[in-house]
Each structure stands twice: as C-alpha cells, then as structure tokens.
Point group: C2
Chain length 155, copies 2
DNA sequence: CAGTATCCGGTGCGATACTG
DNA sequence: CAGTATCGCACCGGATACTG
C-alpha cells in the first residue's frame, strides 16, 4: 500500500460533498426501488406496490417525500377507454438520476447477479448500444443526452 | 404523458435486476459514507469515525459487512517512523463502485448543493478532465479504465 | 488506536382495517 | 384504485463504559 494515497481526513467536508448530499436522499431501500420503477415506466400507486412489495403506508410516505424533493411529480392521465388516474413520473431532477441508476445497475449485474444484464441502454435514434464511462474532454460531444436514450429489455 | 411509456409492471423482476440487487447493499447511509471515505483515501477506523461522525459500534458493524461483501479489505500497513496499523481499503469490487460514486457526486452537486463541485476526476496520465456519460459503441475505446483515473480537489 | 459490551429509547416497519 | 388510520413489536442508533 502506497503511503501517499493514505489520507487522515477526507479532502472534502461532508457538507461540501455532492456524494454525501446525495446520500441523504438515496440511502433508503424503498426510495431507490421506487425510482427504479419510475425509470421502468411504472407510474401507478398499486402497480409500484405490487412490483416491489412495499406496504401502502410506506409507499405513500416515500412518494410524498420524492415529490417534495422534486424527483417525482404527481400527474393525472387517462388511457383510452379508461377513467383518469393519477401517477408518479420523474421530473428533470429525477431523470438526472439516470447515470446513478445505470451505474448501480451495471455494478449490481456484475457483482451481485450472474454478470448478465437483462437490460441495455440504447441510443433512441440509431439504436446503438451505449455504455457508461468516464471520457476525456475532446470526446464530451459524444456523450448522449438523457433525451436521446432508451432503456430496453434484452431479447 | 404518452400512454406507450406507461407500464403496469416493471420489465425486470427484482431478483433479476442489478439495480435492485445493488440496492440491498447501497441503501444504507453509513455504508455509502464509508465508501466515500474509501474513495477519498481515508483508511483508519478512527479517521473515518471522526470524518463522518459515526458511532464506533455502528462503524465496526458496517466495516464488517463491507469486508464480508468483498467491497473493502482489511490491511495492515506501516508508515515510516510509525507502528503498524490496520486500515480498510477498496477491493476490485469496491473500486468498481467508482461510477456509482461519481454519478452520485455529480447529481448531488447539481441538485443538492450549489451546483459547484469541489472535486474533479482527472486522467492520471495527461491530467485531462474526465466526465461521466453514456457513449456509443464506436467510442468505447475512449472510456478510461479505473486505473487511469484520479480524484482531485479543485484549486 | 481499534475495537467490544451493554443498555435504553425512538422510529419506523409491516399487518390489518377502514375510506372516497 | 389510491390512499389514511392505528398499533404493537423489533431493531437500530447513539451514549457510555470497558479492553487489548
């Protein structure tokens, strides 16, 4: 172990660290699973509940917090031939969690599951497979915006 | 709201979803903050404790779990002129959390703090600024490996 | 410095039941 | 279908004290 890599203190205080700040919102199991549902396009209270097996009261509580925090928004919508319903969808702030979502998914697939992923992230236009990674300045233009991507089940 | 984006069920069961699996490990506040310390190079029990203000018993518990899960490993090391000490450092599985770490940091900086980041991710070799993003197949070669990057405080 | 031991109090989970 | 209301028990966190 190289001594120069050892620090006695983190270089960034908790209150100045985006990671630490994000932690306050994202360190809850149910919250993360609800966000997962949102990315997969599940919007109804009862559908979310059944998918992840969360008690109603807890789901209600978490949705309220997520709306307060501006990650989800409550919308009313109507499918043809059905009555109006309410649902919860991602806001811009919520959609900005895409990279967190993908990073966690990649890590979980590799280290918690069998290494195989059930989903791919595709470019919405040319259906090219996309991969998450760190890249240099001269390639910043190659980064896809969130509006250009599409989560798809693998065949 | 487009009806075709609404799903009644998530396309991936919880048990097949890497994101959901990752959730089981990463949905704990203290665990995430300890991982943060690890990325910042803080390795000692008491240093971590002081940095994040975690009770000893809880830190002990979390470190144990993180070691069991193969995210941290306990090492003994010796700085010149000091006695040997033990510390906790990231394993390969732990270092693979880099993108989760960066994604959470980016999101937290943008949406929880003032939008300014205290740290940059640099290419270890040419000190180029790196950015996290989704990119297409033909640019996969531009993605930096974890061994090529370096977390640095902004000046 | 790196933990373990003990204890007590609060919270929040899950179950169940009720409502518009 | 989309919640609210109530409730008891379990666990977890923080405090404090002790140990190698």
């Amino acid at each position: 172990m190289r001594a120069n890599k050892i620090k006695r203190r983190a270089p960034v205080k908790l209150c100045d660290c985006g990671m630490a700040a994000a932690t306050q919102i994202l360190s809850d199991k149910w919250t993360l699973l609800i966000i997962r549902e949102a990315f997969y396009g599940v919007v109804r209270f009862d559908d979310i509940r059944k998918d992840i097996g969360i008690p109603k009261a807890v789901l209600s509580n978490r949705l309220k917090k997520l709306v307060e925090q501006g990650i989800l928004q409550k919308v009313t919508y109507q499918l043809e031939g059905e009555r109006t319903r309410s649902g919860y969808v991602l806001t811009g702030k919520g959609r900005d969690l895409t990279l967190v979502f993908v990073a966690m998914m990649d890590w979980g697939n590799k280290h918690c599951l069998d290494g195989k992923s059930a989903v791919t992230i595709l470019d919405k236009n040319d259906l090219q497979t996309l991969k998450l990674g760190l890249i240099g300045e001269k390639d910043f233009a190659q980064i896809r915006g969130l509006e250009d991507i599409h989560i798809r089940l693998k065949l």
